[in-house]
Symmetry: C2
Subunit: 252 residues, 2 copies
């Protein structure tokens, strides 16, 4: 039985204010909750009896068994599933020097929760473990973002920081890449195995204050070069094309 | 002045049934409408006086000047802009043999309107002019898809067809690529300048009936290979990574 207060609490996590106050976030669905359990501390697990029976080993600080109808009342999804969970937000320490030894991403005000979630999933696919996010970047713990990560947030750490200061604090000589319409062909130059790749805001690209700190300007060329085309790629799509090329270079 | 009937007509275009009956689709916003005018026949243009004054050369079968409030009543957007337009759906002829001379995409039940729009934008960026869509693929003329194409639908043609039959009708020897978890490394083999690249449904990938007709099975390798990671990339993201690699090969 799910009390009115618990339903209110769960649904309040749609709003950043309450997520911050509670240092908590919501995840829904069998696959996603399963992927996150064991990686994040589970404060509240709400599941049907069928789900509980099928997952005997799961531990949470508090577990509530509900009917599907009760679950639907707490859910933010159009098609509620068998389980939802409230996890504690982890506290990660952030050391910029990690970028001297491995490839990291930096996001300069990526606004759309879905784009952010997709980028986390891309980072995970390409073995990128750290993403530095400007303060204005969408919140990882937005339920839409959490769902869009498809569980990849269990393996990728996001650090919300003042991005110019972070970039200035990098060890000397760390390559800082960014994509610009007047950058150099991504495919025509060596790409390093470590460093930072900055991706910009959906509408405005990389801000001037961050652009100044980019020391390797890249361009994703269209095809055929110079043909009339869309003015840009979606930011998650561009992230994928760039990350794929960095990793290809390490293999072949 | 926008009549109640016109508002009803415009808003009805959110539904596929009415789009099909009317062979029409809706586009909103200054940038998008500007990109589509001149490429599609404009049946109805609804704009503020300020917009009309700024765009004197625009022709439409019918033009209605409205206040911003009136425009908002007809709009499907959360943040209505200065202009919306109803265009006629074009009728394209579809000749499978085009795939013998240029690279085409095929979508096997891509469901999400946003993914479809993003894929059209990717195709445009990489100079792909034809996309064969299975009958179950999301509708290009869904307003969400139209918005997500960011104007790229002016240059890319979508053909809704029975996909297995289309693939069987290709000229002999046409390469048909598809991505599979047990495919061969995308980066470890020659890719052709023409042919078809099939992308599958978000949840289920490429259907069995279509998979049988794929003659070159590809894999987008993760990094490092074999690391625990997300189980897949978003379909639009995967499309971009594959298209980028096909086009890279033609340049370098």
């Amino acid at each position: 039985m799910l009390s009115k207060n618990k339903i209110k609490f769960i649904r309040s996590l749609e709003q950043k204010k309450y997520r911050k106050e509670e240092q908590a976030f919501l995840a829904e669905g069998n696959k996603l909750v399963g992927d996150l359990l064991g990686h994040f501390e589970c404060r509240l697990l709400v599941a049907t009896e069928a789900w509980q029976t099928a997952h005997p080993g799961v531990t949470a600080e508090e577990t509530v068994v509900v009917s599907k109808d009760e679950l639907a009342r707490a859910s933010l999804l159009k098609a509620p599933q068998e389980v939802l969970a409230v996890f504690r937000q982890p506290a990660y320490s952030c050391d910029p020097s990690v970028a001297a030894t491995e490839l990291c991403l930096a996001l300069d005000d990526v606004q759309d929760p879905g784009n952010l979630g997709t980028i986390v999933r891309i980072a995970d696919w390409f073995g990128i473990r750290h993403i530095f996010c400007s303060i204005g970047t969408a919140d990882l713990y937005n339920p839409k973002t959490v769902q869009a990560t498809m569980g990849a947030m269990a393996r990728v750490r996001l650090h919300y920081v003042a991005l110019p200061e972070l970039l200035q604090a990098l060890p000397e000589g760390t390559p800082v890449y960014g994509t610009f319409l007047d950058g150099s062909d991504l495919y025509a130059q060596p790409l390093s195995a470590a460093g930072v790749v900055v991706m910009g805001n959906e509408g405005n690209g990389i801000s001037a204050g961050v652009a100044r700190l980019v020391n390797r300007r890249l361009l994703i060329p269209n095809y055929p070069v110079g043909a009339p085309t869309s003015e840009s790629l979606n930011v998650a799509v561009a992230t994928a094309v760039v990350c794929a090329e960095f990793r290809r270079g390490l293999r072949h």
